[in-house]
Amino acid sequence: MASMLRRVPLLAVLALALTAMAAVAAVGGERGSGGAWDPPQTEETPTPRPEPACPDRHPDWRAAQTVMGVEVQADPQCQPDNPELVASFVKGTNNVNQTTLDDLALHEEAVEKCCDRDGDGDPDVINITIEALEINGFHLESDDLASPYHIAPGIHPTFWTFAPKSTIDHAGEAFRDIARQPSPPMRVEVGDEVHLTLENTHYFPHTVHLHGVDHAFQDEDGEGNDGVPDVSEAPIRPGEERTYEFTPRQAGTMFYHCHVQPDVHVAMGLTGILRVEEERDNNTVQTFNPGAGLVRHPAEGVSEDHDRQYDYHYQNVDKQLHEIPQQRNDPRELAREMHRTYDSTERDADYFLLNGRSFPYTARESNIVIDEGESALVHMVSGGEDTHSIHTHGHKPTIVAKDGVPLEEPVQRDVFTMTAAQRLDIVINATNNGLDSYGPGTWFMHDHREEATTTDGINPGGDISMVVYEDRMNETTAMPEHAGSWDLLFTDEYYEGEIPVFADLGMPWIHGDVANASDEDEDRSTLPVATGPVVGLSLLAAGLAHTRTRGGERS
């Protein structure tokens, strides 16, 4: 006993001494020999070659207009929805001519509307057909991705999406407007007889679960209608279809998603807002709102009290999962890698999306544009697994409904907590009274879990958007007025971490990169490798010495 007490401190002292020696050596190494103040030079900052902040594809899409007899609201942002697409989703694709459908890459079965049963001036039987599609998937003949869809400069993970039934699109542009993220918000009216058909064009089985939407467990034929595989029904296999039926009795902001292997399928993007609008006369709703954002043909019940209606769909993306379909092609390997090897309990999000994009791309299409004195109704969902803390600068909006149920006592907040699959309806009131609004501006709106304002750890990115007062929307650039420059942000290199984040402030001597920084890093990283053997061997030697001593004592 006495000998043990003696030995333990001896070992501890030995180890401590060695560690201290290693630490001294490390500090000395970093300062360099001689200790002179001779820092390395600053590397020249690469000149960014940014892509255009606004590609300016269709400036004519921005104005308020009447298309095919359908009123389409103005959207002054860079990339508004195509007014013809909006009008087709209002009229019904069965009421649009074939040439227009071909231009939009839409199949006539996407949204079929008919039958004003109650004589109130709008159709009451709605047939919706969606396809399950992979975007940014494997490409056999080249390293290019099939149907590239970028969430931020240079970033294009694979997603699965529910998209309105489409048709051949030789130009490829129109298809990208409908096959994107998130799965599109859908709108129906209370009392509509809705037939929602999923045609499974994907290589894995899928279903549709109508989350929060009033639906029977089985349809009239006794077929499962709840979308839960092996509980209400069998999943829809590749090449098969199923029609879900519902006639909603309650209005509100609901949700729809695939319920097959949901820890992966929800994460891959098979989720969307399903908004049941209140019943009104002449209320022909915009059945799909591609890419979410502004509803350019708002519902009648919303227009009574608000000037604009927005859908806001938040998602989180673990790139480890979303890159598997770009690395493998065999469906068996994909099933193994995505559903068994990938462990969703170890999920760690890298990308944070709002309406299918990360900042700065969100600034092209997902701001809340508002005029002083106006009111905007925003339907929000956390479509992934994150709990969000959404904060609005310059405003304290009012939460008027949660999970599709109106709040008896609406609450005014500047942070909204929204957990997975939760929906919030918030009203942004642009009345400059120091409470609802502090006045006009380009006001930041973002998740206050700060990691969500990054793109794979590079800030600013993630789910940032802005509340932009109309007079601060620049008509020439179609982007919000802002201080400083966003040039760095519209480069692949910035999000690859190759450009110092303060590079545009003009102080490279303190914010730039240290010349040959990578060599220095390597020198430093060898330190623990060198320290390890010293400590280890010393402990080993000490241990062996003691063993010999003890052996001697025993014999």
């Binding site: 000998s3 043990m4 333990v8 070992l11 180890a15 199949h107 079965e109 008919c114 039958c115 049963r117 004589g119 009451d124 039987v125 047939n127 396809e131 599609l133 992979e134 494997f138 490409h139 056999l140 003949e141 390293d143 099939a146 149907s147 039934k165 489409s166 048709t167 051949i168 007889e193 045609e199 064009t201 994907h202 290589y203 296999r237 590749p238 090449g239 098969e240 279809e241 790139k319 890159e323 770009q326 690395q327 493998r328 092609n329 065999d330 469906p331 068996r332 623990p528 490798v529 060198a530 320290t531 390890g532 053997p533 400590v535 280890g536 061997l537 080993l540 000490a542 241990g543 003890r550």
Partner: protein, 205 residues
């Protein structure tokens, strides 16, 4: 009156639900001879089934055509009847046809349609695929070998094989995998070993 409207409405709804939409044929060519062809050399016809059903039991294939290699003479008039076995959208799209560059049959669901085109005058291997996202990648690919062709079109199931394994690496986009991560250096291992011995000795004492 209202009841009459309701009946009409229901009938319309029933008709709407039961309606099937038409297929789409793009860039058919029955008479415009490709350069070097003085006349149609031969008329050939094929019926091809495509979808998930022909892929049943094929390892690693989700969708395919029941025939995936066709040999036709130069300047032949080729007529294909494409049968979609699924209630979902499929295409039979031939690339490299004259004069528009491709000829397409698209079927929105179960059914069939026919298209005609004229083979070129010189040997060529024309690629056929379904352009619905990932269908080509998951097996829906075929080839027309005109006048013997110029070798097999790559990645046609059962004809030219699936992509080689090394393509998997080519498609990795910067994600750090377990293999890429730096392994713990020998120093760390030795430190662990030393610590283990020290702890072991303490326990023995």
């Amino acid at each position: 009156m209202n009841r009459a409207l309701l009946v009409v409405g229901l009938l319309l709804a029933a008709g709407l639900v039961a309606s099937t939409s038409s297929a789409k044929v793009v860039n058919e060519n029955t008479d415009d001879l490709p350069p070097g062809c003085e006349e149609i050399s031969e008329e050939v016809t094929y019926t091809v089934r495509g979808g998930s059903e022909p892929a049943r039991g094929m390892d690693g294939v989700a969708f395919t055509f029941d025939e995936r290699s066709f040999e036709v003479p130069a300047c032949a008039e080729v007529t294909v009847t494409f049968v979609n076995t699924d209630p979902i959208r499929h295409q039979f799209m031939v690339h490299g046809t004259y004069p528009d560059g491709s000829t397409l049959i698209e079927l929105p669901g179960e059914g069939e349609d026919t298209a005609t085109w004229i083979a070129p005058s010189t040997p060529a291997s024309l690629m056929v695929h379904c352009g619905v996202n990932q269908h080509q990648q998951k097996g829906m690919k075929a080839q027309f070998l005109v006048a013997g062709g110029e070798g097999d079109v790559p990645n046609v199931p059962g004809i030219s094989g699936l992509p080689p394994e090394d393509r998997h690496d080519a498609h990795a986009h910067g994600e750090e995998t377990a293999d890429d991560r730096p392994a713990p250096g020998p120093g760390a291992l030795l430190a662990l070993l030393g610590a283990a011995v020290a702890v072991g000795l303490r326990g023995n004492a």
